[in-house]
């Protein structure tokens, strides 16, 4: 049982989401408006790549742990019903971790999109801006989903907006 109230935790998550959106704005402004040189962009890219590899490694660890727990759950039960219940409990337990990994992945995608926009150096590139906005929306939705899996009532992005965002992605995404 947490010592913080659900409302306080909800506000903390929303504050966190707003903070990283602001951070993206700052990174973008810093990268684009100051005319980010190739060496500075290389530093940004190296950091983004390293962080991405750390997230990927944590995902592998997460999957390994999930596999071990699933195996233990179904091997420890003699009957199908008991095994199914044990496996369902393991899946439920890993839901917040998987949702958090997804949120990190989508945030990393948005970060890379920011760097792609900065590398292009063309602030009039509307499709690229649309893709960045879509990535940010998806990342926010990922965090909202992760918070919801922990029982916090964080508002999600409306489905219609997510559909529009999805339409903005394929045009420029590699």
């Amino acid at each position: 049982m947490s010592i913080f109230s659900a409302e306080l935790r909800r506000r903390a998550v929303i504050g966190f989401c707003a903070a990283w959106l602001t951070l993206f704005g700052a990174v973008l402004a810093g990268a684009c408006l100051s005319g980010c040189g190739a060496s500075a962009l290389q530093v940004h890219a190296t950091v983004a790549d390293t962080v991405g590899q750390v997230i990927t490694a944590s995902g592998d660890e997460l999957l390994d742990a999930r596999q071990r727990d699933l195996d233990t759950a179904h091997q420890g039960a003699a009957y199908r019903e008991d095994a199914a219940a044990a496996v369902a409990a393991v899946r439920l337990r890993y839901e917040p971790a998987v949702a958090s990994y997804d949120a990190l992945r989508l945030t990393h995608d948005a970060w890379v999109e920011t760097l792609l926009l900065a590398a292009a150096g063309d602030l009039d590139d509307a499709p690229r801006w649309a893709a960045l906005a879509a990535r940010c929306l998806r990342a926010y939705d990922g965090w909202a989903l992760a918070a919801r899996s922990l029982g916090l009532d964080v508002p999600r992005v409306p489905p219609m907006l997510m559909t529009v965002a999805a339409m903005a992605l394929p045009a420029v995404t590699p």
Binding site: Q42, R66, L70, Y79, R80, E81, V87, L115, A119, G121
Partner: protein, 100 residues
């Protein structure tokens, strides 16, 4: 990244690991300097990369859901292969009704 830059980066990576394994002393200091020099050479060798190439080289984080779906399918198959509680009396005693 050019083959030269790739080779230099690999050597720098291997050198940094080997350096950590060495006992402290003059040998380790020299190995540290050589590794740092290899790292700088690697950076200089790939200096010709364009801005677009630099960001395209960032590795994306993979989606876990396909692998989770495969994991779940395998576990579901293993669960389905187990005997059901309902099947058990029928299999052992061959009783389908009350048995009287």
């Amino acid at each position: 990244m050019s083959p030269l830059a790739t080779t230099l980066k690999s050597l720098a990576d291997a050198g940094s690991v080997a350096t950590l394994a060495m006992p402290p002393g003059i040998g380790r200091d020299i190995a540290t300097i050589l590794t740092a020099a290899l790292g700088v050479s690697s950076s200089l060798a790939k200096g010709g990369a364009s801005r677009d190439e630099i960001v395209r080289a960032i590795r994306r984080v993979p989606d876990l859901h396909p692998r989770i779906a495969a994991q779940d399918a395998a576990v579901d198959a293993a669960v389905d292969a187990k005997p059901s509680r309902d099947d058990e009396p029928t299999a052992e005693h061959g009783v389908t009704g009350s048995g009287r």
